[in-house]
Symmetry: C2
Subunit: 160 residues, 2 copies
């Protein structure tokens, strides 16, 4: 990736100013790290699926048959990492791989019926804890989170 934007555009023109961004980013980083660890600790224990596996499985389910490389991009890991992740999902029969007939280098990954089932199950069960925490926030706070979700997703996503 190496997205060093220093070669082109003038450094960050904005109406709110840099201070907001610096502050915002710093706090967002701290919150994300802790939230991640919180989620990791409360990844569903019954299914034996870690956060990493569930996240990848969900992405496969959502993005249909998807190449391994694209999956790595989406999940923001390197291809070798994704190879391992998919192998683990395949072992559990939650996904299948099909080699592309036209270009045999390409492997497309797809969720199985079992995968979909597990995903549904796991989704509600493992989110219970977080949903409970969420319910302890105020209505306004939940509303704020809801409103910020698209921005979070864009920030975390690929459209940079």
């Amino acid at each position: 990736m190496t997205a060093q934007s220093s070669t082109e555009a003038p450094p960050i023109p904005r109406d709110e100013g840099d201070e907001l961004s610096v502050e915002l980013v710093a706090r967002l980083r701290m919150a994300t790290v802790r939230l991640y660890r919180l989620m990791r600790q409360h990844a569903d224990p019954n299914s034996g699926l870690s956060q990493t596996l569930i996240s990848a499985l969900a992405t496969v389910a959502r993005c249909g048959p998807v190449t391994l490389g694209r999956l790595a991009e989406l999940e923001r890991v390197q291809p070798p990492s994704m190879t391992r992740i998919v192998a683990q999902l395949e072992e559990r029969a939650l996904v299948v791989r099909h080699v592309d007939a036209a270009d045999r280098r390409i492997a497309r990954v797809q969720v199985t019926a079992a995968g979909t089932e597990i995903l549904d199950e796991v989704r509600t069960r493992r989110n219970e804890y977080l949903a409970a925490r969420l319910s302890e926030l105020t209505v306004d706070e939940r509303r704020a989170l809801d409103a910020a979700l698209p921005a979070l997703e864009r920030l975390a996503g690929l459209q940079s």
Copy 2:
């Protein structure tokens, strides 16, 4: 997506929140995992400090002399993990440990001048990438993030 919440018009004013929570939590989880990996990949390479180390260092700096156990709580890791993290920071002379005089089981951790310096340096430098990404969001999106930050922090924090 209900993404136009900048001025008013709360998208989903449901109080019982079950369905909202499930959806919200699920998406928040995905976004958090990816955002975390994005941040991890762009943790400052020059300083040789990982996200984990910087996060802990920042917490030490913010929370003054703090016991190791409390630090583990704050960072949401187990005490043995924090022992290792602090040992690494100490090796680099970014923090010091003082054994409590009254109760010699307790170790208090404190940032050093070098630690503060590094932290300041690193903070701007490593956040450049994220700040740049942030600047590609719309004003409304940044505003939404800013508004959601307290909720995120509460959700990730200890005041459940």
